[in-house]
Amino acid sequence: MIRYYIKLGVLSIRKNPVLSALMVAAIAVGISACMTILNINYVMSGNPIPHRSDVLFHVQLDSWDPNQSAGDGGLSEPPNQVTYLDGTALLKARKARRQVLSYQSSRVVQPADRDLRPFEVNARSTTADFFPMFDVPFLYGRGWDQAADDSQEQVVVLGKEVNERLFGGEDSVGRTLVMNGEVFRIVGVLDDWYLVPRFYDVTTQAFNEVEELYFPFSVSVANEVNGSGNTNCWKPWGDTGWNAFLNSECVWMQMWVELHGQEEKQDYMAFLDAYVESQKAVGRFPRPLNNRLNNVMEWMADQEVVADDVQVLLGLAILFLIVCLLNTIGLLLAKIMRRSGDISLRRALGASRNAIFSQYIIEAGVIGLCGGILGIGFTWLGLRGIEVLYRQYEFVENLVRMDWVMVLAAVALAVVAALGAALYPTWRACRIHPAAQLKTL
């Protein structure tokens, strides 16, 4: 029987090709508008490190001015980075399974080959735990260890592209690199590493790519390397020079710790509170106690990494889909009402209400399926459109990837939408009386 209904559906679609095309197109356009934006939203709010996002915690200490807000959040929000003083103190305490303190900087690499001109790279000054904690993929070698941090060893980990540029992609572990006049030994080369969003530092552009080069935090501080991200201060330094800056209340680095389970988290929180209390005793931390530990997804939500524009667009896209569905309901209804003669004839010839219902709901399903498949095509076009529109942002290509989850979701949404839209018209069809339409027309 199903085959018969599908046949009737296809016949009916072919009988009104323009109208059916209009319905399919309306569904496809609505679905694709929705899916395009939803896809971007989905990627933006995706989990960058799913297997570890529950054990990685971002640390916030409220060291800020009691009279000014640290960001957009008002007086009750702690700053979203930490000071050098606090970061290094927590690092030294080693109260978590692992801890990492890092900041972004800008370095100039001077190739040994004099034909190549020096070039600037986006670098990250970080501590040894960065690589195991964030599950960083290596092509050659590995990260450095804590001993290297402690002894300020001039070691470096290269991104795949920099290695490509300097060494033609060869295994460069053990070779050296000159950076801002200093010689560094290469200990590792990264493999492709896509992190969307780049959760460990969202204070600069959260959807930018990961840094191209990594070197020890201790070396960076010793060489007086400024951060290239945001540096926010609220209190005068009291003295001049690099040390005065390091000892200031300026926040400019990101602190992450690894904690397993609620108990470890509570213990660490207690440790943070005790630390702040001890600092209050020496005149720092004028605000009330307000420390935070957020895991990766909590931190992404807290920092609102999904842009407002995307959310506005998502709202509009959902309304758009509603309009397309209203359109489909209207057209299906009109179609069914126009065929009421046919329906009452079928009823008179013995078709049950169920039979009529099945026939029309299957027809709607066929339309929905066509709309969904066409919608995937339109969504792909939509994403390409977004890519062109936002081409200036290097990260946009990360946001316009479509995975099979989204493809299936598009088809499913289209079919569900079409079936939903068909319910009322089909119900009306079922209510057409067997005799009513035969008498008059």
Binding site: L19, L22, V108, L316, Y390
Partner: protein, 404 residues
Amino acid sequence: MEIGPIWRALMRNKTAYVLIALQIAVTMAIMVNAVAIIEERNRIMARPSGVDEPNVFHIESISFAPGFDQAASVAEDLEAIRALPGVVDAIASNTVPLRNGGWSSGVATEPGEDVGPTGVAIYFTDDHGIATFGLDLIAGENFAATDIGWYGLSSERWPPLAILSREAATTLYPDVPLREIVGKTVYLNNTDAVRIIGIVERLQAAWKSWDGVERSMLVPAYLEGRATRYVVRTEPGYRDELMPQVEQKLAEMNDGRIVRDMLTMDATRERAYHEDAAMIKLLVFIVSLLTAITALGIVGLASFSVARRTRQIGTRRALGASRPAILRYFMLENFMVSSLGILAGGILAVAMNIWMVQTFELTPIAWYIIPVAMVVLWLVGQAAVYGPARRASMVPPAVATRSV
């Protein structure tokens, strides 16, 4: 003239019309709110930066060689750039407006920790700053060459003189005439006294979305550090020709640094507002597509309604309705349905806007967008129904006598 009977006929068969009205309502709500966002973005994008944008470009020099003599390099570089024919003036600064990276600091009218400071954007410059950016000095005077020093981690205090933008001056001293603000002393870092010697009409900060974007301060010093951003203003028409020359000159003059990120102000503006421009394009596209879908919906339903009522149309024609009368019937019917949708849409649009204003801190819609959207949707409805209505008017009256 026939509103009564058309209305009663509508009410007998309302579902399809209710659907169209709803569709128009949601379309209207989206349209109004999208236009409101577009308007706001356009307004933001139209704000002038204060800089002579068509004739200004900038380029960054980053030193890497150990023992790099920054003071000597800046002096040489500036002398070389200013000597190029076609260059009006040049400075070594830290940033330019709209670049989305820079320095801001709190400024207070009294010394001490308890005074709530006002954030202003800091532009390090020398006595050529006003001429290079092309600013309009509306009170006081420019820095003198002798005022210029260096500022960095080793500095004991903040440079003692400043030129403010009008907005920065009036925020610090509301209700004080500009002429009297000149000569007043403000405080940075709680204790460092800085005398205001001049006020410029406008100089935007580097961050377009900052609420203090119009507040800025020119500081008479060169900034210590590896990075220096040279800002160059050229005679009209010389910019594109001079850019590669300046880049090459800087690269040749000193190999202890790299030069990078050379951009015109036009390109800087384009980059700064790229997202807004893209959003506008997206919204225009969505609204157009939506309007097209709604129009197609109207065409589809009206076609059906005409097909279903062919006999009735023939009867009306037989009873003396002229072609224009039939055309008018369907146009009027659509007008009434559209009006309902538009009315509901107006309410929906306002409700949605209130929600968006609360959630996304948008500005409320300008009142005139609603009537404009109404007229547009009425016209779209009438245009969409015209085809089917014309087909209806072509139904021959003899249809009435055709046997079933």
